[in-house]
Symmetry: C2
Subunit: 299 residues, 2 copies
């Protein structure tokens, strides 16, 4: 793992998420065993669980119903399936060509490229299947969840970011290019996680707007810090190949505006994200902890 995000405040939530993820996929004995082994290998490989955690925290910020964590869990699992599918496909030789992920060999290194592609496809499909397990709240019918998730994961958001990333490699890129990539590849999924969590808690339109603002700032800060870590940390610390972005001349903030300016930008964005939480009062505490934790990462 690139960093540890497990202060005591998150342990309860992380345990619930790991348990739910374990049940969110068919067992490895279900035929064809290969595909279910490959899906489980990548989904249950650890990871920060940032998106499910944000989803749960957003729900708690908007509701104090006792069952809220249980109700929001299928959405949290869907978000992690979506994230894991994008990692598996990003790591493929035809994309970023990465051998390590979360400290373990990438899916195609273990199962071969064909099965890795299919495992990604299956996790993407599963994320929509999980969405069908929710009981939607009053303000937000199922169709809203389906729209938000399919748009954020689609060709103008998540996939657009990956395409722009792929096309930027080896070329001279501007800050606007880098921003285009980060907003779509990372921030869009962070915003989605928060919004779906808020929606499950029947958030008011005003609350949903605040969550979106928080997520946009946090998402960009998160990606900038990830870029910084790629430059400053070793492969062992990162759990993935270090310096790869630099070697591939990838579009990153440190490469364009330098390390120090990148750190200042990340700190500024994190402060902005904190500001967006004001109206939630004490219920926004867990979301606030996230912003703090992000800046505490070794860098």
């Amino acid at each position: 793992m690139a960093f540890s995000l497990q202060p005591s405040a998150f342990i309860l939530h992380l345990n619930l998420i790991e348990k739910a993820l374990n049940k969110a996929l068919p067992s490895q004995h279900v035929l064809p065993k290969t595909i279910h082994r490959a899906m489980r290998y990548s989904l249950l490989a650890g990871g920060k669980r940032l998106r499910p955690l944000l989803c749960l925290a957003a729900a708690e910020a908007c509701s104090n119903r006792e069952n809220i964590l249980k109700e929001v869990m299928p959405v949290a699992c869907a978000l992690e399936c979506l994230h894991t599918y994008s990692l598996i496909h990003d790591d493929l030789p035809a994309m970023d060509d990465d051998d390590l992920r979360r400290g373990k060999p990438t899916s195609h290194k273990v199962f071969g490229e064909g099965i890795a592609i299919l495992a990604g496809d299956a996790l993407l499909t599963r994320s929509f299947e999980l969405l069908s397990q929710i009981t939607p709240p009053k303000r937000y019918p199922l169709i809203k969840f389906l729209q938000e998730m399919s748009v954020a994961a689609g060709s103008q958001q998540l996939i657009a970011g990956q395409v722009a990333d792929l096309e930027a490699e080896g070329k001279k890129v501007t800050l606007a290019d880098v921003r285009f990539i980060h907003e779509r590849k990372t921030a869009a999924m962070i915003v989605l996680s928060l919004r779906l969590g808020g929606m499950m808690a029947n958030a008011t339109p005003k609350q949903l707007k605040a969550l979106t603002k928080f997520g946009k700032a946090l998402g960009l800060a998160f990606q900038i810090i990830d870029d910084i870590l790629d430059v400053t940390q070793s492969s062992a610390q990162l759990g993935k190949s270090a310096g790869k972005d630099l070697a591939a001349k990838k579009a990153t903030y440190p490469a364009i505006i330098g390390l120090e300016a990148s750190r200042r930008k990340a700190a500024k964005l994190t402060a902005a994200s904190d500001q967006a939480l004001r109206d939630f009062g004490p219920r926004g505490k867990m979301l606030g902890l996230f912003a703090q934790e992000l800046l505490k990462r070794p860098s």
Copy 2:
């Protein structure tokens, strides 16, 4: 195209489908242009449109409402997006490694492997987005559509078929193996197309059961005939590389039970599919034409 399925009875429907497909994706000028060009290249490359046609025909078999074709169209387009995604990924070098599809170079030959993988991902995601455009009928809420589509496209149906197909290559396979593959890779999507069409038309449970029975027989017959064509036709006739299945020792009916027995099996299944339509009366006419057309294919 492997065969032409365009008697006058289908022309109206085919025109409507082509028009709707053209509008079902962002234009090629939307950023990032590459991904939308790649999505449109494969989706609008012709093809038999079998799944959308079956979807429309099933809806007409269950309803005589004037607007039924218009109402069912987002579902029909979603099915074709789903089918096209599976073709793009199946054709990749890590899978079947095919250079030709529908008479044109495959996606990865034109756009490179990275973009081809992402174009498949984007079409899969788009199929779920299209589902969010429907107005579900009384008997079947959106959740039913989401469940049926995600399960049929998931790791125990469509993807399971592709995994088993991949793993069968070069090995000695039994008739049970071939059936496992065909039922999941082809029949599951045919059945899905019919069921979703029926559901949009508010089909009775009895009608939905008959559509399922029809689809299972038709889907298997369709795949067996596809296998036969691979042995008996040239690449020019097929619009894709001929004899590839045989060369790759792929699991096919002709390879296991021989050409003649395969033809008899296909004829028997087509008769069974016809039988399942009895209760629809004259409204099942278009579905019946499909079964006939399938057997008329040059073989």
